[in-house]
Symmetry: C2
Subunit: 270 residues, 2 copies
């Protein structure tokens, strides 16, 4: 089983990390479209074009037979277009996050924090709305650069998160909602999970969309739990990037939680 994992950059490695824990018995091909990141600030037409070419690379040239779109922006703006362009199952992080929020909430009121583009797409509102949930979304554009700067346990990050969450809770009060669940709607945010838990009221539970995506893929695929094949060979992990492999190795290791070797540079044009 070849599982293709796609993101605009490194963040999707948090999803791959969770998949490796749950489904060690698959082969993985990770592709980060690092020459064209971030998708988060781009228009739908541009994101569709980029994401479809990346999905095709994974399926047509790398023989992926299952695709995980580990990029919130691509899941929000391009999931239907990707499904139409490749003949394999395609799972996006927004539906899995909405499923998990639906399973977790008792009050049916849910919060989502994400990048500006994900919030502007209102994809989480739509996905949660279909499941009967009320949602307030909050754009938090500074969190990705703070994670990439490595300022995880850092007073500036605590203060930025405090400001964003306080603005979000003001909106909650105005809307008269009673949320008990907050979805981390960006693959960078799992690295700030402890910060979120400290900054939120204890009554609000954090849903890590990387973790719940891995759980849902694992449930759908029913693979064995062994990391090695019957002949004792380790399953493979291949990494592709459209820009600097050195940076991919350096930054990516932080997201994957282990060293990354053998990243291959590919050219999708553009």
């Amino acid at each position: 089983m070849n599982i293709g994992v796609f993101d605009s950059g490194f963040g999707g490695l948090t999803v791959l990390r969770a998949l490796l824990e749950r489904l060690p018995a698959a082969d993985y091909i990770y592709m980060g479209d690092t020459a064209r990141l971030p998708y988060g600030a781009k228009s739908q037409a541009t994101v569709v074009r980029y994401a479809v070419s990346s999905a095709r690379f994974l399926v047509e040239r790398q023989q992926a037979d299952y695709l995980v779109i580990a990029c919130n922006t691509a899941s929000a703006l391009a999931l239907d277009a990707i499904r139409e362009s490749v003949p394999v199952p395609v799972v996006g992080v927004i539906d899995t996050g909405a499923n998990a929020a639906h399973a977790a909430t008792k009050t049916a009121d849910v919060l989502v924090m994400a990048t500006a583009a994900t919030v502007e797409s209102h994809a989480y509102s739509a996905a949660c709305g279909k499941r009967g949930l009320r949602v307030i979304e909050k754009a938090s554009p500074l969190l990705v650069p703070l994670v990439e700067e490595g300022w995880i346990e850092h007073p500036v990050t605590e203060e930025v998160l405090r400001i964003y969450i306080s603005e979000l809770l003001d909106e909650v009060g105005t809307a008269g909602l009673d949320p008990d669940t907050l979805v981390l709607g960006c693959t960078h945010y799992p690295l700030l999970r402890a910060n979120f838990e400290r900054a939120l009221p204890p009554s609000i539970r954090v849903i890590d969309s990387a973790e719940v995506t891995a759980a849902q893929v694992a449930a759908a695929l029913c693979l064995p739990q062994e990391a090695c094949g019957p002949d004792g060979t380790q399953h493979s992990r291949r990494f592709y990037a459209t820009d600097s492999v050195a940076k991919f190795r350096r930054l990516g290791s932080r997201f994957l939680g282990e060293p990354i070797n053998g990243v291959e540079l590919i050219d999708l044009g553009g």
Copy 2:
């Protein structure tokens, strides 16, 4: 006279703004390669490819007869490649910044704050070194997202700038330098000029590379000072972007300091 101004995004509008003040009697074509921004985190090969296609668009399709590369990353990594690819004069913000630092400093010790990619290219060190200056460069990756979030007069921005400048001054102490000049090596930073001036010791003077680029272009071109031609018609300003024109209008106005109308979407492929 058609002056083409190129940046990966909106930041170069601070250079256009300074040019409009100094040289109102030119026609301007501004191009922001917003579908492929930011260049700051990409490899030289990718930046060269993107910047050359943008420069060609301005010269071959828009008849620019003078090019200002208002993007530090493209000036650092792609200036020679651009000069080889178009038959018009090309000015980059790094040489103009180094010229201005050379003219301003009495101690010959200069500081530069910029994005990670500009710093890693050491283009300012090379340009200042040629002029006999000693330089310490400091990457400040959080300042661009803070400006784009609109947190200009904001305690978080003051604190981030305080941290960066304190780290920089520690390096200055270790190196035994006596700097009296700091170059703002990113076109977003002019919006934080007052913050920089508050955070720095009063003995260090701030050089705004947008302003000094405009001054040097004005000196080179010797155009009249009138904003209207001899027949009373206003000189033209055209704006092109490779992604969402709505976002360009909204964010760009903050950098240009006046409303932007009539942005045209173009496709350079990729």
